[in-house]
């Protein structure tokens, strides 16, 4: 059972950062996951007064405050315009509306959970995290960092001409995924580039980048070779929800379907 001795609502990021340097201090997000653990927390730091609950959009980026809820992300008009229903599709399986009204984007990303749909989805996009002390770094880099005492301030998605597809397989509609998969494509430095993010393998999401020029009218058989190639570059594990072999197969199918959907849209 989680125990907490002291609650502090931080008045500035600086204060939050200072408090967080203590060994038993923790920053709270939505309290969805931390509460399930057995941590003995001396001081819990609440960032909810720091204005980090907004999604800001300008010509170049979406800047998502760490304390934004998953529901805000799911319902954001700008993200919907840019990526269609893919972002919402990554979110609406997560437990229920009440849960998503409470779970924070910052908590989801900071936790780097294996089952995370949010991480799987954002990893495929051109996404950065803004850390209070560590500056702004790529999400793909952050994901492999160990937990430290820094504070995640915001998540930044750089706008560019990219298409996103998200899909997952689940035993029940609101369960953790058996496998989750995001596929993104767009021109990078003049070259058509594909990004594949596969999560819940059951290990946490990882991203793969491929410079593949794929003709719009490619045959299913040919496209399947690409999908298999992409899926084969991830590792998979076995747990209660599925075997490694099955997960790899699902990755092939979901990647294939997402690629096909993107190519059809471009036709």
């Amino acid at each position: 059972m989680l125990t907490i001795n002291n609650y502090v609502k931080a008045k500035s990021l600086e204060e939050a950062y200072e408090l967080n340097q203590a060994r038993n201090a923790r920053v709270m997000g939505g309290m969805m996951w931390m509460r399930l653990g057995n941590a003995k927390v001396q001081t819990i730091i609440d960032l909810s007064d720091l204005g980090l609950d907004q999604i800001e959009e300008n010509d170049h980026v979406f800047k998502i405050g760490a304390m934004c809820t998953l529901r805000q992300l799911e319902q954001h008009e700008g993200l919907r315009e840019m990526y269609g229903d893919a972002i919402a599709k990554a979110l609406h399986h997560i437990v229920g509306v009440q849960f998503r009204n409470q779970a924070t984007v910052g908590g989801s990303i900071y936790g780097r959970f294996g089952f995370s749909d949010v991480l799987t989805c954002l990893l495929a996009l051109d996404t950065f995290v803004e850390l209070y002390n560590g500056g702004t770094i790529r999400l793909s880099e952050f994901v492999n960092h160990k937990s430290d005492k820094d504070i995640l301030v915001s998540i930044i998605i750089r706008k560019s001409n990219r298409k996103l597809r998200y899909d997952s397989i689940r035993q029940t509609k609101t369960d953790f995924p058996v496998l989750a998969c995001a596929v993104v494509t767009g021109p990078v430095h003049g070259k058509e580039t594909w990004y594949f993010s596969v999560g819940a393998r059951p290990m946490k999401a990882a991203v793969l980048e491929k410079e593949w020029e794929i003709p719009k009218d490619i045959s299913d058989e040919q496209l399947e070779i690409y999908a298999k190639e992409a899926a084969s570059q991830f590792t998979y594990g076995t747990n209660m929800r599925g075997s490694a072999k099955y997960r790899q197969h699902l990755a092939e199918v979901l990647i294939l379907r997402s690629m096909r959907s993107i190519l059809e849209e471009g036709r």
Partner: protein, 760 residues
């Protein structure tokens, strides 16, 4: 009928929809000691030493109790009539722990925090023993789950603790081997159903206190208050007269609360300390130390002649009762007795079973109670038979189903007095448009759709055993108090029993108040289980009303100064038919409160020599993704023959709810253990029950027969409704893909590897 067969809202509806505090934890006094249980991390071990010194020093701790504080007298927690078929194999706390989660110590203190802190400071030394985790290897295994000499079986159920046997029996009619030898087609397969959790929304909970008379009062979320009284007296080794049990509103039971899961712990604390105490199980405790469905492996042989007439059914069931024998000897019987009789033309049957102990949590009673497991196996075998013959499984059933008037040898020789199974089958087929959807349709985009079928039966109470008594009294202004010992757990029995009384007494629902169960004042009822309440307690209501009408007439006649033969009671007035003189029920009610020597009260009991089965047909339509094996449930139709439907709304919701539970059992619900016996399915995060996005559409209709021995022609509805989804969904998968799943749950992965020709 005015009130029976009408969709009357439940009598407790308003309290429930406005969130009034009517459940156990809402009622518990705020000064209750908080009780928690320290649980074993080992599947099988002996406690060598328990050091409580540091734990007892935690401020606020009242007491910590271990096996040394408990009577060494074994009992069973199964809520069954005495003498219980379940063996006396439990102590409140035992030196031997038998599953991961078994109780080691009971801690009581004045706050949750203090108790949790103390729990961490208890030091237990275990001698870890080899656990017995594979139920197929349990019988005659050298590892014994219950080696103790004071283990006791009260009934001749074939139990032998020195062989890990909780029960064994054989039953047959005809020569099954030669009948099957003569069959043109024989299916010979083994089916495996897993443990499932009832997962009622209100976890197990109880609070206890001593009253002014020094008696132990137990307020508990239970289906079996009278059994709780007896079991607690046995467990604590105190006289039954010292125990009173009160049942408030219950947040769901489904059989889980037919076992005394939590009551002993606060009761022990209160009895030792004299202080009020309460225990509220966490969801985790409710998942790791409770009373789930018995895992069963069922070997079925079913044979048919060249025309598809089913000639013989042979069933062997191996049931896993876990660490204790609660409901072990009885659930298993239904796996054959309530599956084989669905087929009316069989010339021979055989049914043999073993129930074995293992080192996992004890199983218990869950809606369907063994019938669910047996029906999955037998219905799946019949569907495989249809496949083998190239025959539509509905057509195969039409040729073979049991029909009204037939004797059912495998159902204790009872006759199907009321049976509309043929009409259920016909109507279900129309509702789902079977003929245009069977066997399957390719939808494009890698999707294939198909339909599947299964039938089911259950009982209505336990024949020649279940007993219900009912009391009704007339009060001031003539309102009635209906006193029952049956336990409404959300199912609505307080309402439907009042409907029956209102119908019999020619009054309105508002004229009757229903009294919740209190063993000190309620008439005896064995409790709400075994699909007994509508049929058994319902008949007791009918009888009581008849007796009360006679008494009202007699009182009316006395007040009107005329012979009873001249009197008629229309519900509101007692009328002298000769003179037209009358006296109202209200006036009678008021007058009997003065100068009266006959209580205007009637009480009658009922027990039935037979247990008339309800019948039903379920059909599932599924869509399967051929590339992933993912299954989407599109539609589920069910047609039920529960005899007369006492309350169409409540019966419909019972059916829809049972089907949803059956869908969960079919598709993902599974209690999974590690190879050391640790239960992984310990939360709603890991043990998934269907959400409203997972059940597709469920459509229910009724085809009623009329049961001559039941109240207003009614039979039961509560349990049968869970039985069809597993075999119907498996059949739909079979028809869509050719893949036959014989072990639940039907996961997408199993379907996928099946389509690839590989087993998982």
């Amino acid at each position: 009928m005015r009130i029976v067969n009408q969709p009357v809202p439940k009598v407790d509806a308003k309290a429930l929809v406005t969130g009034q505090g009517v459940y156990t934890d809402d009622l518990a006094p705020s000064d209750c000691l908080i009780v928690k249980v320290l649980r074993s991390p080992h599947a099988h071990a002996l406690i060598k030493d328990i050091n409580l010194t540091r734990a007892l020093a935690v401020p606020g701790i009242e007491c910590i109790l271990t096996y040394e504080d408990c009577p060494d007298k074994r009992f069973t927690m199964a809520g069954q009539s005495y003498p219980e078929p379940s063996p006396y194999d439990r102590l409140i706390l035992d030196q031997r722990v038998r599953f991961v989660g078994d109780a080691v110590a009971v801690i009581a203190g004045n706050s949750k925090e203090a108790v949790n802190k103390a729990m961490k400071l208890i030091k237990v030394k275990y001698e870890v023993l080899e656990p017995l985790l594979d139920f197929r290897k349990a019988k005659d295994n050298p590892v014994l789950v219950h080696p103790e000499d004071n283990w006791q079986s009260l009934c001749p159920v074939g139990a032998d603790n020195k062989r890990n046997l909780c029960a064994h029996e054989e039953d047959s009619a005809g020569d099954i081997d030669s009948v099957l030898d003569s069959c043109e087609y024989v299916v010979d397969r083994v089916y495996h159903t897993k443990a499932n959790q009832q997962a009622m929304m209100e976890t197990f909970r109880t609070y206890t206190y001593l009253d002014a008379y020094g008696r132990l009062n137990i307020v508990s979320s239970t289906q079996v208050p009278f059994h709780v009284r007896r079991i607690l007296a046995n467990a604590l080794d105190i006289p039954k007269s010292k125990v009173r049990v009160i049942k408030p509103r219950i947040g769901g039971g489904f059989g889980a609360k037919q076992t005394v899961v939590t009551e002993v712990y606060p009761a022990l604390v209160t009895w030792k300390t004299g202080k009020p105490a309460k225990i509220i199980y966490t969801r985790e405790e409710s998942f790791i130390a409770s009373s789930p469905r018995h895992e069963m492996e069922v070997h079925v042989r079913v044979g048919a002649d060249k025309d598809g007439i089913i000639k013989g059914i042979d069933v062997y069931t191996l049931s896993n009762t876990g660490a204790f024998g609660e409901h072990g000897p009885t659930t298993v019987g239904l796996s054959g007795h309530k599956s084989i009789p669905l087929y009316g033309k069989a010339e021979a049957f055989r049914f043999v079973y073993d129930v074995v102990y293992t080192n996992v949590m004890s199983a218990g009673a869950y809606r369907g109670y063994g019938a669910t497991q047996g029906i999955f196996a037998v219905e799946s075998a019949v569907n495989e038979l249809a496949g083998k013959m190239g025959m539509d499984p509905v057509v195969l059933r039409e040729k073979n189903i049991v029909r009204e008037g037939q004797v059912m040898p495998a159902y204790y020789g009872e006759t199907a007095n009321s049976c509309a199974l043929d009409r259920c089958l016909q109507r279900a087929k129309e509702m789902i448009d079977w003929d245009s959807k069977y066997p399957c349709r390719d939808m494009g985009n890698d999707k294939v759709r198909s339909v599947g079928v299964a039938m089911a039966m259950q009982g209505s109470g336990i024949s020649a055993l279940d007993t219900a008594s009912v009391g009704i009294k007339v009060n001031d202004d003539g309102f009635y108090s209906l006193m029952i010992g049956a336990t409404d757990m959300g199912t609505g029995c307080d309402t439907i029993l009042a409907q029956m009384a209102a119908e019999c007494l020619d009054c309105e629902m508002e004229d009757i108040i229903v009294h919740g169960v209190d063993t000190d004042s309620s008439p005896y009822d064995c409790g709400s289980y075994a699909s007994s309440t509508t049929y058994v307690t319902g008949m007791a209501v009918v009888r009581t009303c008849e007796a009360l009408r006679d008494k009202i007439c007699a009182k009316g006649a006395a007040y009107l100064n005329c012979p009873v033969g001249d009197i008629e009671f229309d519900g509101n007035q007692v009328v002298n038919l000769k003179t037209g003189e009358s006296i109202s029920r209200a006036e009678i009610g008021n007058r009997v409160m003065c100068s009266n020597e006959d209580a205007l009260y009637a009480s009658e009991a009922f027990s039935s020599p037979i247990s008339p089965p309800p019948f039903m047909v379920g059909m599932a339509e599924v869509e399967i993704d051929k590339a992933t094996g993912q299954l989407e449930l599109i539609d589920y139709v069910a047609v039920v023959d529960c005899g007369t439907v006492v309350n169409p709304n409540l019966a419909r919701v019972q059916t829809e709810g049972g089907i949803a539970q059956g869908i969960g059992m079919a598709l993902y619900e599974d209690v999974v253990y590690s190879d050391k016996g640790k239960n992984y399915s310990n939360s709603f995060m890991q043990y998934k029950i269907p959400s409203r996005l997972d059940v597709g559409e469920i459509r229910v209709e009724f085809e009623s027969s009329y049961e001559p021995t039941g109240p207003f022609g009614a039979k039961s509805i509560g349990e049968i409704v869970i039985n069809t989804p597993p075999p119907a969904i498996v059949n739909a998968v079979q028809n869509a893909t050719g893949v036959m799943i014989r072990e639940l749950p039907v996961t997408s992965e199993k379907i996928y590897w099946g389509m690839r020709g590989q087993n998982l």
